[in-house]
């Protein structure tokens, strides 16, 4: 058992190392033009957003559609720290994440009494409130936003924080605490009568999800020089929701794949800005018609699938480890 796990860990580290090394190499040699770099970093940031939202929506089954609000809290908090208070970047990221987590916790407590549609509407309202709050704070530039943010976010920062986010949430899910969250999605009453403090775990999912959205926000702010309340509007939340649904509610690898694919598709459609949303919407409709459970369903993509395919086995459940 332990042996297999260790093999997996080593393999994962190898794959990640290879990915990191080859891209780092391109950057060092100056072969990666800024257009590719932007999109590469956006892929990482979007993966962080999608995976953290999946923890709330896909694994815990709490329908939240205000995830960009947490990103905004992380972005603004970190930017204030670097721009106004001249604090170092790592501290700013941490503070941004913690501030978002705190808001997630505070929002979680009262709203998690709500279920389904009602919760969705409450989180939607939360996202809009956050936006309006920033519009009205002159200290952070009001509606025109906070500018002059130092350009500190690099490929290194994005890569390691994305990897950290994915590993953190994956490990969380594959523990008794993660299973407690999943049991809430499956049947809240049964979960509660099996001894699970459902309120605690719902709030925990919200808090952890918000934490990583805050970190993603901090990275975002320190790449694009300027942040505006409108950057984190409702449509942005919907973007992340789409990634989660498309990849599969309850599949981390699904979110990673979907975030990557949709970021690339968005970039390709940039030139057709007007019809971008139309194509996007059509894509969604088609996928929901033919694969409503998302690309991965609630399964995980792992190397053992390839092994199994190689051996010609057709069925057997996909490993969730």
């Amino acid at each position: 058992m332990q042996k297999i796990l260790n093999k997996r860990i080593i393999l994962t580290i190898l794959v990640l190392g290879l990915l990191y090394g080859s891209i780092q190499n391109l950057i060092v040699q100056g072969k990666l033009n800024p257009y590719y770099e932007i999109n590469l970093l956006l892929i990482g940031i979007n993966i962080m957003m999608a995976v953290s939202l999946n923890l709330i929506n896909g694994f815990t089954g709490q329908f939240s559609i205000g995830h960009a609000g947490f990103m905004a809290v992380g972005a603004y908090t970190s930017a204030v720290l670097t721009v106004k208070l001249q604090q170092p970047f790592p501290l700013a990221i941490l503070a941004g994440s913690l501030a978002a987590a705190l808001i997630g916790f505070l929002i979680g407590l009262p709203t998690l009494r709500l279920k389904g549609d009602y919760l969705a509407i409450a989180t939607l309202g939360f996202g809009e409130i956050i936006k309006v709050v920033f519009v009205n704070i002159e200290y952070v530039g009001g509606a025109s936003g906070l500018s002059g943010i130092p350009h500190i976010t690099t490929w290194n920062w994005v890569f390691f924080l994305t990897a950290f986010t994915v590993v953190f949430i994956k490990n969380f899910i594959n523990s008794t605490h993660g299973r407690a969250c999943i049991s809430i999605r499956e049947d809240e009453i049964a979960a509660e009568t099996m001894g699970i403090n459902t309120t605690k775990y719902k709030v925990m999912a919200f808090t952890i999800g918000a934490f990583f959205a805050g970190a993603a926000g901090a990275l975002y702010a320190h790449y694009f020089y300027i942040i505006q309340p409108n950057t984190f509007n409702f449509l942005k939340s919907i973007d992340y929701l789409v990634m989660v649904v498309l990849g599969g509610m309850g599949s981390i690898t699904g979110s990673v794949l979907a975030a990557t694919a949709l970021t690339i598709i968005s970039a390709l459609l940039q030139r057709f800005a007007e019809i971008r949303m139309v194509i996007y919407a059509l894509l969604l409709i088609v996928i929901m018609l033919f694969r409503p459970q998302g690309l991965m369903g609630n399964k995980e993509f792992s190397l053992s699938i390839l092994e199994r395919l190689g051996r010609g086995e057709k069925h057997g459940s996909v490993s969730s480890k």
Binding site: S175, G195, I196, M204
Partner: protein, 257 residues
């Protein structure tokens, strides 16, 4: 001393008294039946005992502690577990995970160990898996541990629900129509199994059941509920010959059981 002592328990829904002035006492090691016609309030009693509903009136002493007002998970943590009349499994999860989740309250590793894979994470996970498989083995489900719960046949889903409840390590186990939908052969085996787990795990069991021969054969004492009120209680023999019970509910069924 009684493990469970319920006094004057009452639950009113709108204008309807689903349960009124319900009294019951269970002693350690007993296997007690709760019977009554459809809509008598049996499931409501379970929901009150487990904290799913809050009583309108009355007290519930479990293990010398008043548990009225506690959340269901707090009551489970104090040693009460149940199954549901309309099966409530974690249906998209594997059979194994269904049982492992019930083990949750006994896991000691914290969030940091979970995320960093430090401390007791591997050890406790392995131990939990091993124990879960032991419970599955008792219910002859260990070979199906990797199947998705909702794909199991009906009878196996019922057995899985009992296995899951047992994994929570209760002192009092509440079974709501565990044999519903099973054939006579399965029902017979299940009853023997229930008696066996009662002895093996030193449990106290309260059982709701419609199948008369089953209740009469297995339970040491029986409470009969009608319109939310207890109309009789006693040994199977006493219940069988109680005119009130025969008239109100059981009719010929009792005489033939």
């Amino acid at each position: 001393m009684a493990l469970l002592a319920v006094n004057n328990l009452t639950k009113v829904f709108g204008g309807l008294s689903a349960v009124s002035d319900f009294n019951i006492e269970l002693h350690p090691g007993e296997l007690v039946g709760l019977i009554g016609p459809n809509g008598a309030g049996k499931t409501t009693v379970f929901n009150l005992l487990t904290g799913v509903y809050e009583p309108t009136e009355g007290t519930i002493q479990f293990n010398h502690e008043n548990i009225v007002g506690l959340k269901p998970y707090e009551i489970t943590q104090r040693g009460m577990a149940r199954t549901f009349q309309n099966i409530r499994l974690f249906s998209n999860l594997s059979v194994l995970d269904n049982v492992r989740i019930a083990y949750h309250t006994h896991v000691k590793y914290g969030l940091t160990s979970a995320v960093m894979r430090l401390g007791n994470y591997y050890k406790e996970e392995e131990e939990m898996t091993r124990k879960a498989i032991e419970f599955l083995h008792i219910f002859n489900l260990d070979r199906k541990k990797d199947e998705i719960a909702k794909n199991l046949p009906y009878g196996e889903q019922r057995r899985l629900e009992i296995a899951r409840a047992l994994a929570a390590k209760p002192r009092l186990l509440l079974l709501d129509e565990p044999a519903a939908g099973m054939n006579p052969q399965e029902t017979h085996e299940l009853m023997n199994l229930i008696k066996w787990i009662r002895d093996e795990f030193k449990l106290t069991i309260l059982l709701i059941e419609h199948d008369m021969s089953l209740v009469m054969g297995a339970c040491e004492r029986i409470y009969v509920l009608e319109y939310g009120m207890i109309i009789a209680h006693g040994t199977p023999e006493e219940i069988k010959s109680n005119p009130r019970v025969i008239e109100a509910y059981l009719g010929e069924e009792v005489a033939h059981a």
